[in-house]
């Protein structure tokens, strides 16, 4: 079943030596080229969920809670039902079964049952002949609420047990708590030369994809439910629909059309998917629901605010001896991925530096705010920020160069972390070298004059995890290939292309393996009727896992092609090479046939042509409860240097340049990899300087619009310099690892560290607003004016 180690990192034909680092043997892989759907997206031809329309289609809208925490006493939908043009009204009792993306914590209802937990919680849904009628009907629904105490402060949720936000949860308002210790931290810190202990705060932010969530459902006369949805987890949505709607899964088909961005914000099953499905079943009509931008803010699942306390110690040489973390996580109103978030907040910090001892104590609590979830760099961006700033604080105490302290603590490749994670290829040192030389760090750091500075930070991230959200031993990724007599190869993959280019990646691999142009490969993805299961686009797993499954399938097909041609030519299969749309005889290169002829020969010999391939992770992770969460078959590594200046009169920070070096194993398409690196760094700096997702004193979102939620514009964006580092992982597809999330992490701490170099203030509380910068500068001036003796 597991195909994980069947294929080395080399090219299909030239990779005699498994560790081959050269890209020269590849024809497709490693070349910069456009995405397979690039033209369709650029011209507007691509079909997104909201572009779908069906005869007789109804439009659905959601009634939401205006209260942050309340019990529903009564709902009267009779007036709404009576409105002309309204076809159906649903309330929570129509779908009482709870769900949640993590099977251990199902605490969401498609529509509120008994109580509401944040302003924006869905309460009822209406399907009508058009949007205006549906909106008018919403205003006719009467809901009587009994208000409950509202939790907006996670510290209060930690202390106060009543009322409970989730009444069936043990232990008050705690969502998840994890304490793990590896080695004896106290002992180690007691022997440290220098210990730094400090508090850090990471605020909330959201994904803000261009495309709002949208879903369309049809229910056929023979009882098949089809759902088109802007999701990044087709398979989990499929399972959740079966559970909540109490339909056998074989009567449900879930399709993800072209998607306009996700970043983790579409990796839960969402209310609208259940509502349109149920409404289609009830009315017998196709039903669409498109959320407004405001509703997308309420759906949220964005970055968890975290209060982080770190205590780290080093030897006099700057070697870490122990790290101790205590983290309070504000989860918002539902669990979502929270169980995983809580583990990730501790488990993913143990590289690229060697931690001899490590302890973390992370607690996620519920509050009456939009639910948090996984945003690009799920659970690990916050601790990484705190720790990388603390590392600079340690370096300062030892008068060590910040890059030097990171080099000294490098964990090495092919090693094991203190918490039992297996690390394979590790190009972190080269990442540091790249950003050091590109930024002219040695000549410039500390020498740019007051007001301008350089800062560095590093990070690591997973390429998928061996923890499938529901336990099973089936493959995590499956791929099926089908060959047409025209020479076209169709790839069927459950993988969700959310703009990261996974469909392109599949096409490149098949083209590479079969020696055909990329244009002769078409990809059908994320359709549960047509495609083998893939778990979805999250945890940066797709290139690694779907890529390996694609290689697996393509090599099985290639074997058949080669065998058929070899038989025809009466030569050894080793003499047959598939390249550039041809099969050629390596020892008699005048002898060749087109790949179309080769396909037809193989179909004649073997019957209808096709193949399947799969990937499953090896057994990974520490031997303790939770030890598999965050255990990845390969880790990516990143280093950033940020060049920033501070206007000390206005407190405004300007970022000039960011050098991003990222070890992605092998870059299957360097253009897409560089795009992911730049996009990640942009998103990180956006969080650091502009974006803030929070509620006001009433629990109302402070500004659920793209005017008030400040996404940086092109004018606010620095120049990014992507440096791809290729460590060539032994288990990745041709040696590839992830590139979509890792490169976000260092942006924020590197910026904080650059500001310290610029003006000598240590920014530990995000976001870095001008007001905070001015306050810190004032504090610094006040401290400096105190006479030495007094201090």
């Amino acid at each position: 079943m597991s195909a994980r180690d069947l294929h080395g990192p080399g090219a299909p034909w030239g990779g005699a030596e498994p560790g081959a680092r050269s890209n020269s043997d590849f024809k497709v892989v490693g070349q910069p080229r456009p995405k397979v759907d690039g033209i369709a997206k650029a011209t507007g031809a691509a079909v997104y969920t909201d572009d779908l329309t069906f005869p007789g289609m109804l439009h659905a809208k959601t009634l939401r809670s205006p209260h942050a925490h309340a019990r529903i006493v009564r709902i009267d939908t009779s007036k709404a039902r009576a409105l002309k043009g309204v076809h159906a009204v649903l309330t929570g009792d129509s779908m009482p079964i709870k769900y949640g993306v993590i099977p251990w914590t199902p605490d969401e209802n498609a529509l509120a049952v008994d109580k509401v937990r944040f302003i924006g919680d869905p309460v009822a849904a209406v399907a009508a002949i058009d949007e205006d009628t549906a909106n008018a009907a919403l205003k006719l629904i009467e809901v009587e609420y009994e208000l409950l105490h509202t939790y907006l402060d996670p510290f209060e949720s930690l202390q106060r047990k009543e009322p409970q936000i989730h009444e069936d949860k043990k232990g008050g308002n705690i969502s998840k708590s994890v304490q793990l210790e590896f080695g004896k931290v106290e002992e180690a810190l007691a022997g440290a030369e220098v210990v730094v202990e400090d508090d850090y705060f990471f605020h909330g932010s959201t994904h803000a994809p261009i495309e709002p969530h949208c879903a369309v459902a049809t229910y056929s006369a023979d009882g098949v439910l089809t759902l088109w949805s802007a999701t990044q987890i087709t398979h989990y949505v499929h399972r959740a629909l079966a559970r909540v709607l109490e339909l056998p899964a074989h009567r449900i088909r879930v399709i993800q059309p072209c998607l306009g961005g996700a970043f983790g914000g579409k990796s839960d099953p969402f209310s609208l998917e259940f509502c349109v499905s149920k409404l289609a079943m009830v009315t017998g009509r196709p039903v669409k629901m498109l959320w407004t931008r405001e509703e997308v803010f309420y759906a949220h699942r964005g970055r968890h605010p975290m209060h982080l306390h770190y205590r780290s110690g080093v030897t006099k040489d700057g070697k870490l001896v122990g790290v101790d973390a205590k983290i309070l996580i504000d989860g918002g109103s539902y669990s979502s991925f929270g169980l995983v978030t809580t583990y990730y907040s501790g488990q993913l910090l143990t590289g690229p530096y060697h931690f001899p001892t490590y302890r973390f104590d992370s607690t996620r609590v519920f509050t009456n705010k939009p639910p948090c979830g996984p945003k690009r760099g799920h659970g690990s961006v916050q601790p990484r920020f705190a720790f990388e700033v603390q590392l600079d604080q340690l370096a300062e105490k030892l008068a060590l160069d910040p890059i030097e302290i990171r080099r000294r603590n490098f964990q090495g490749d092919f090693t094991r972390t203190v918490n039992g994670q297996r690390v394979t290829s590790n190009g972190f040192l080269q990442c540091l070298d790249e950003v050091e030389s590109a930024s002219r760090w040695k000549e410039r750091r500390g020498k740019l004059g007051f007001g301008r500075g350089l800062g560095v930070a590093g990070s690591m991230y997973i390429s998928g995890t061996n923890y499938p959200v529901y336990p099973n031993d089936m493959p995590q990724a499956g791929v099926q290939l089908k060959v047409d007599r025209s020479g076209l190869v169709t790839v069927f993959t459950g993988g969700n292309d959310i703009g990261q280019g996974s469909n392109s990646m599949c096409a490149y691999i098949v083209a590479e393996e079969l020696g055909i142009p990329v244009e002769r490969v078409r990809v059908v993805a994320a359709d549960t009727d047509l495609c083998p299961v893939d778990l979805g686009a999250y945890s940066s797993r797709v290139t690694f896992m779907v890529g390996n499954a694609t290689i697996d399938a393509a090599r099985k097909l290639r074997e058949k092609l080669v065998a058929a041609v070899a038989e025809k030519w009466e030569c050894a299969p080793a003499r047959v090479r598939l390249i550039e749309g041809l099969a050629i005889d390596l020892e008699d290169t005048a002898r060749s046939m087109t790949s179309v002829e080769a396909f037809q020969l193989a179909e004649t010999k073997f019957d209808t042509l096709g193949s399947t391939g799969s990937y499953n992770t090896p057994k990974l992770g520490g031997d303790y409860r939770g030890g598999t969460i965050g255990a990845s078959p390969a880790y990516s590594f990143t280093a950033h240097v940020v060049d920033a200046s501070v206007d000390v009169e206005t407190g405004r920070i300007t970022v000039h340049d960011v050098w991003v070096a990222h070890d992605c194993g092998r870059a299957l398409n360097p253009m897409i990899v560089a795009g992911q690196m730049e996009g990640s760094a942009y998103m990180g700096l956006a969080e650091a300087l502009f974006e803030e997702h929070d509620v006001n004193r009433f629990g109302l979102h402070r500004g659920p619009s793209l005017l008030d939620y400040r996404l940086p514009t092109s004018l606010d964006t620095p120049d990014f310099h992507a440096r791809i580092v290729e460590s060539i992982d032994p288990e990745g597809p041709y040696g590839a690892k992830e590139a979509g999330e890792g490169p976000l992490h260092p942006s924020l701490p590197a910026l904080s560290n650059a500001v310290y170099d610029a003006v000598g203030i240590r920014l530990k509380h995000l976001p870095f607003t001008p007001a905070k910068v001015l306050a810190a500068l004032r504090e610094k001036r006040a401290a400096a004016s105190v006479p030495q003796g007094v201090r």
Partner: protein, 339 residues
Amino acid sequence: MLRLPQFELVQPSTVAEAVRALAECPGALVVAGGTDLVPNLKHELFTPPRVVSLALLAELRGIRRENDGSLVIGAMTPLAEVAESELVRAQAPALAQACSLIAGPQLRSMGTLGGNVMLDTRCQWYNQTYFWRAALGFCMKKDGTECHVVKGGRTCVAAASNDSAPALMTLGASLEIATASGKRTLALDDFWVADGIYNKQVARDEIVTAIRVPATGAGHRGAYGKLRDRGSIDFPLLGVAVRLELDAQDTVAQADVVITALAAQPKRITKVAEALAGTKPGTAAFDAAVEAVGALAHKQCKPLPNIPGDADYRREMVPVYVRRTLQAAARREGPVHHV
């Protein structure tokens, strides 16, 4: 997507017809470029039975120079055109600069100068969807009675947020207005009412047809400074328009500073001319006077937590932006903006 409420759209081809279309339908509203009104309609801040579009009134577009040297800018002239106009840049630099910083490029192509002058006041408790405002329990500006900015406040303090207005005030500009009974003129200085619910002395059934900017001479200096979070799109967190009139010896004879995004109307800082008069840009005396004007402005301006952003920080930035904008004007530079 948020839906527009239903209304009747009227597209008159003369100003007289437009005024009539307004007069015969109480509650009717004017739409110019729509960049302010359309989102406000979607938020159900207005539910007019009729919207009268000025889009077809070609006579309201364009910039011309009168014989007396004054500029007449048609109310429907796009903001981008005002910002780029050589005439405006030469004669009224503060206005050109202010217009260049309104919203973003796309919105400046649609948005008009008349529309910006007539911009609705803004507040974080008001510029929200109907659902959001209902969850809040509404506010006194629309559908409610309370003020969430000033506890127990009886007057709406939603902020004048039009960048063009303070610049026009420093320039002594006036509005030409078409009414049911004919025409009238209104100085920008007399335009305001200290009420955020509706802060203008222009009735809902009147139409601003043009903005008249008096002639300026060789000694005129002007600039605009804008504080906002991003380099584009955002409304001002603070807007500072300045005017300096230099005499033949290049010393300051007259000066004016008007600040917006504070409360319902822009604020003219008092004693500015006295502080700056007689000083010569580039000298220590001028710098000291500029510093003093900054301090005056800081004393006179108290931003409220009406629009998004930290009110204390906005106040702290008042003297900084006043100083920088005055210095920019003196050097014939500007606008003062962080990008």
